[in-house]
Amino acid sequence: MKAIVRKSIGVLIAVLCITQYGHTQDLLPGLRVWGNFQVDAQYYMSDTLIDAPDVPEKIGMNAFANLNLAYENLTIGFRYESYQLPLQGFDSRFRGSGIPYRFASWTQDNLEITVGNFYDQYGNGLVLRSYVEPNLGLDNSLDGVRMLYRPVEGITLRTLIGDQRLYFDKGPGIVRGADAEANLNQLLPALAESPNQLTLGLSGVSKFQRDQDPLFNLPENVAAFAGRLNYSRGAFNINTEYAWKSQDPSAENRMIYKYGEALVMSASYSVSGFGLLLSGKRIDNMGFRSNRNAVANDLHINYLPAMTRQHVYSLTGMYPYATQPNGEMGALAELTFRLPRQSLLGGPYGTTIVVNTSVANSILREALNDTLPVGQPGTDGYTSAFFALGDEKYFQDFNVEINRRFTRNLRGSFTYMNLYYNQNVIEGKQLPDEDKIVKAHIFVADMTLRLPNRQSLRWELQHLATQQDKGSWAMALLEYNRAPHWFFALSNQYNYGNDDSDKRIHYFMVNAGYSQNANRFSLGWGRQRAGIVCIGGVCRVVPASYGFTLSVTSSF
């Protein structure tokens, strides 16, 4: 570890020395240099009322900087990361500093080669998605070799091999993958002018991990395969992908040998002022990691999309959905339409309405025989008919959002959300049946008033009504913006409906920020309530905290 840190710091100093020439472009005409920097720090203060843990080190900090250089067909880059110590809620294995991501990439005659670290995604990600999401503490980048080749117009071939990042280390498995995609309209001259656009794709990904287990005969090579199709004609689009995975007993599926499968389908129609999206999916035992023993967000090879709306407001986002890789069926429908301006309902400036609903449910699992329980380790686990629903609902969301401009300077967004949320499934709690479901009605009003001299005032009023979990919440926010530099915000979330009167707590927050071109500074003070944050169905637990926060971002 120390050697890695020393090497990393050496590389960093060397690159910084190069860039300290300042006008690097002058040194080598055609050279491009770009990058970005972000630091998030927090000073923790004790607050027993909200169960904010006492943090002995007082300060946590997550920071990273990307630096990339490109010259003609060659691009090189790296990311330096530092966690001193990691912010609360991030895995303690991040502690330290180093360069976990570095690469060189070049293109020659339709062949693109990358060595070092890289990210990639095949289709919807059902068999491979390597990506970074700093807010989740997730980075499953591959370290190895990647090739992309376009032998003829309309054909893209990709292959890769590498091991995956695990904090400042690597996972024990090796990932191998290949993907072929054919755009038939580009490939076949007869279809070049066709209004029907068709793209087909085929992916295969396998992993190798040695079998060291004294109990189980484990497959050392596990493969997953996917086929996909994308069809569009004018405003109409269909995208679908089916994936299948070979035997992969793991910590996630509790050592069962059943094969995995997943199907996602999505159809959309969109014209000016009207949009309709319909999606559906079925997932069965489709967790796929380069270490069969990995848990939490470690070493995912694939990505299983959440078919639920990603809400942006504090209270509509309080109970987000986490994809269940061991099995779920889900559907989403979203209708967007615009009421024209100067109409009775649309008002003088028009009104946009979004109606969205989604549901996620268990799949039907049946025991292999009368004696084995469902999911018994060391067996095929269970059987499951493809279209059979289980009897447990995981999540349901119905929401309506209305966006309307009232006057030239005043506009508003109003949301109603009806929520059904199974805490035992989504958060892994073990609550009795009568407590495990949260049913909530949530209302949000978000108004913005434009003021003279590039100033604006924005305020939010939110309310979450529920009898379950921590009870009802109310929230208010007031934000003053003075473009292009300053913003100030005050907010308070009040858990007034908590059954425990001692827990009827105000979570206040004060924020101020300053932006100067590509630099942004933000300072905050207040309480952060405990909860979970999810991005695309992948989640991280956020513990309660109290104190000061500092965030700085910069890019060049």
Partner: protein, 282 residues
Amino acid sequence: MMSRKKIATVLLLLALPVLVFWGCDKIEEPYMKQPGENGNTEEVVRKILLEEFTGHRCPNCPQGAQMAKLLKSVYGDRLVTVSIHAGFFSNPLSSPFNYDFRTPEGNALNAHFGVVQNPTGMVNRTEFEGSRLLSPAAWGSAMTVFEDMDPGFALRLSASKGSAASYSLAVEVEALQEMQGDFYLVAVIIEDGIIKPQKTDDLVNHPTGEILDYEHNHVLRTGITGIWGEKLNENSMDVGQKVAKSYTFTLNSQWVPENCSVVAYVMNPQMEILQVEELKLP
């Protein structure tokens, strides 16, 4: 139009994903390995301590206990298990889940190692594939690391019964190699065969999600030493150097003496377990 050669090349390249797909192993039943010789031996070997963090309200935990039992069939006396009830899933509920297996020692270990989910375990408190806290699926693989490892210490335990529920314990620690560093001795009491309700996710055999007559084994009852141990030496121990320690302790009247054992282990300052022994109380 594409030439035939080009078409053949494209088709060949399109087959790449299929080639990857073919590279998977098909395991035929039975999926479980047949138990070989277990670890029972008269020789001094490097033994393995499995610390299993569990709770009676945790439906997944019986599967962790089952995994520990399966591993015992492989490793025999070479494997010592301590089940630590601590954290959210161990908090008492209303009857019949109103009993409390938590201990100050278990709570301290739970907090120190940052256990947030059950079941989880540590194998000799040593990192395996980047983590000390391991899901049950990883326990067996983590144990194989110690199979061919020479022991650094021999631990010899003897216990005798005194008056009423009091006992004496004598521990002798002998260095079998030149051992650099400070070392600590920890001794605890565990109890087997406690019949108390347990939550389960096996809804086929237990539709209510509860096993009312569940047998809890290896339950950590109390420490004889402090849980962070008693220091054995300064800086190093020479080959053959021995350190003897003796303790007296009293069993709680609620515990069944015939089902109780002493578990003693030697650890380094990083708390990695270097040797462990288990002795049933007389």
